[in-house]
Symmetry: C2
Subunit: 484 residues, 2 copies
């Protein structure tokens, strides 16, 4: 599934690009950061995802003749053509010249810290903004949702939201991100092919309906798939469906085969699962697993488990693939520093807003993640790579300067890793793998305190600006506001 | 942006396909319908969309060698390979052999009526299910959201949700569907190129931040784009931004140019818009339009207009492209009839559920739309094309058999149109155009009563099953339940 990232953008990136060239600003170097401001799903963490597609973006970013012809056809609202031929000629030979540093996929991340840093000519930085946000926003959101669902499930989760997902790539990226977040498999075959993630699935209600009766349908399925037989028991009547599945399960056992499971897709799932377990056990089919599905999410799964239902695995669709209760991450991409030709040092840039959460952070940033000696994470510091970190190693909450924490003496690692240099992807193949990212997410979640993984009202992890950076930001606000 | 629709599917469609072949069911003819059960956004209508992509799906549906090699690599959970070589060999030469009838894009539609009817070998019908739902569910959802937003706006709406959309195709399809639903333009350049929809956009906050000061940034933009100049005034301070824009607007007028507008993207939009209008008018810039944006939807737009703000156009992003308050339509694709080899007539198929809304409708269905003599629509009848319509022309609500309506004597049209015959698309090029679909949606909305277009608590339009079909369905439930 090839995506034309060079045109997967907002028109204003291209009008600005022409403007930068015409005003001589195109030689200005810029630094942008992508970050989000609020915990998704009111949770306690997020799982970074989408950086492999970001690498694809860099690798395939060229304006074709067709692209240029399309742009040349656009009219300006006030008459004439929107773009100048000279600008379009430049696009034809345009090659990205950015450096990108990003957290590695699967990393546990938090609000207000840079997930991606882009530096390079301001035009290049802007031309990739929209596609970059599209890649990282959605996949980070779904990976996070999946991690929450899997924490609640405590058993394998299969993702199958493609039919309700937001478009083809929405579905395919959702399936990949779901696996990164912890899902055992997806129903999405194209995602399996593209990303080497496990695929799973057996049959639908229509299989049962297409046969004269349910028992015949179950027997035919067991015949065709003796090593992948999960029977869907709720087409007509769940209790009768379980009885039919037991009949077929016992027949399979006589043939030396095994009924792997039954799936219940409607009704009161907790009640039905307990009833089904009783019937299966009584029939001697203790090894037949129960699969539940039907509009599940982390909340319904937790409730079903709280009632004591023994569930072998879960199928989660719409509410996972679409991150139903919060369908976007809301991540932003903000200019934080510029360097005009001849300037040797970066100059801070700031966007002021009425709300503290929307104030940007200046500088060229990275994240230091500090650890307690037992391996749990202690706090994240957003710092400027070109400034000395104050020796007290204090972080200040970007939205509340009375909340601060001293991290001196603890071990730390920095989180941003090179993804591209001079427009060429340098991301190692091992860092593009969804399965490896899944393992990384699991390891990262293990460094969180249980209280930070709670589904409802989790404990908030300390993330802040390095003390000196915080003071620099405040001084800049005061100066731009004309207060001092 | 090429999409591999043949693998854009749930794995169980392929396992069922193998099962159908092995059990000899593959020669059975099936009839499926795609429909949704609930009004999206608790509104009073939906706008059908996605049928052009459905035609693309039919046109490009072939299993490549790479596809087959991928499927051959899959293991069964219980050991061995999941698929038989003989089945995979069949896939290699597989050609879709379905007939598809669908409502035309842009048609106003309602719950419980078939938007798409697929007939053909059961294997073929199932293999396209997931991709079909993915195409039609999401795009119908966004077209509907866009129609609601545009009804509230009563002025041009530009869609710019790509950065927050669910993946690349999620964004591209959302932009197309937004135009079908009524948006004047999109910021999404790739959607513009692919679907010939109008694109729009000027500059971002970063443009302003990259210059030494706001006034210089505005002047540079006006210089570069004298015929497409909308200045974003809220980077530092809105009131000062408006003053700077007025300065540049007056300079443009002296050069014989025109400041087209200013955009406000934060703060209290209603209050700021009124303040801006006052300042612009006082400066003699009555022809400078005000553009508002910032997390808008139909509710906030209506509220801003209710306060009397004069808004020239609106920019709507996240909440439109992601249909934020309801991110999926929830449409389903249900088997309704089969015809075994040698059978001459279709045999009814029904899925029973505890809830009336989830009970399926049997038969081979179409929609009759009845009209009052003044052109307003009077009611929709879902009927079986192979059964005589009862002469009273009565419809019965599928979820409440006490609600019925007599439609005899009114004129009607039928809504399903051929989209594919024997696996070949027959959809006319004019029916693939997003702009034509937009015009059709506008004409359709004009046939609704105002009360049906209300944003909150709209009047419910009568949709029901033809009386004979309703009775047939009830008899079938009674029989399958073993009650009679």
């Amino acid at each position: 599934m090839k995506i034309d990232y060079e045109l997967l953008t907002d028109l204003y990136q291209l009008t600005m690009a022409q403007g930068y060239w015409e005003s001589g600003q195109n030689t200005t170097q810029a630094c942008f950061h992508m970050y989000f401001r609020d915990y998704p799903f009111k949770g306690g963490f997020a799982i970074a995802c989408g950086m492999a597609q970001l690498a694809d973006l860099i690798d395939s970013f060229t304006f074709t003749d067709e692209d240029v012809a399309y742009l040349a056809s656009l009219d300006a609202p006030g008459g004439g053509k929107l773009f100048n031929p000279a600008f379009l000629e430049r696009l034809r030979s345009f090659r990205l010249n950015v450096n990108i540093d990003a957290v590695v996929e699967g990393t546990v991340v938090f609000p207000h810290e840079p997930l991606v840093r882009v530096t390079g000519p301001i035009v290049d930085c802007q031309l990739i903004e929209t596609a970059l946000l599209n890649c990282v926003n959605f996949q980070t959101l779904v990976a996070t949702k999946a991690a929450r669902v899997c924490l609640a499930a405590q058993a394998p989760v299969a993702e199958f939201g493609l039919r309700r997902a937001q478009g083809a790539a929405g579905g395919v990226w959702a399936s990949r991100a779901a696996v990164v977040g912890g899902c055992a498999s997806t129903s999405n075959v194209l995602a399996g092919q593209l990303f080497d993630v496990p695929v799973s699935g057996t049959h639908a209600h229509s299989w049962v309906m297409s046969f004269p009766d349910e028992l015949t349908a179950f027997r035919a399925y067991a015949q065709a798939f003796p090593r992948n037989c999960v029977l869907l028991v709720d087409t007509y009547d769940v209790e009768q469906g379980i009885d039919h599945a037991i009949t077929v399960g016992l027949e399979m056992r006589e043939r030396g085969e095994r009924l792997a499971g039954i799936r219940i897709d409607s009704g009161d799932l907790a009640w039905l699962a307990k009833m089904a377990r009783g019937k299966l056990d009584a029939a001697g089919l203790q090894d037949c697993s129960i699969v539940l599905s039907n509009d599940l999410d982390e909340y319904t799964i937790q409730s079903i488990r709280d009632e004591g239902a023994q569930v072998g695995s879960w199928g989660v669709g719409t509410k996972l693939a679409c991150a139903y209760d919060q369908p976007t991450l809301g991540g932003v991409y903000k200019l934080s520093a510029t360097k005009a030709p001849g300037q040797s040092a970066w100059e801070d840039r700031l966007k002021i807003s009425e709300s503290a959460a929307k104030l940007t952070t200046p500088g060229v940033l990275d994240i230091r993640r500090y650890y307690y000696s037992d391996g749990r994470i202690a706090g994240d510091m957003v710092y400027d790579v070109y400034s000395e970190v104050d020796e007290r190693e204090v972080i200040v909450d970007p939205c509340d300067d009375l909340r601060m924490k001293k991290l001196a003496g603890k071990s730390f690692e920095t989180l941003l890793q090179p993804l591209a240099r001079d427009g060429v992807t340098v991301l190692k193949p091992s860092l593009r793998s969804a399965r490896a990212a899944q393992a990384r997410a699991q390891a990262g979640l293990a460094t969180l305190d249980e209280s930070q993984k709670r589904i409802l009202n989790p404990h908030t992890y300390p993330v802040g600006l390095e003390y000196g950076l915080f003071e620099r930001r405040r001084d800049l606000v005061v100066r731009l506001k004309g207060i001092a």
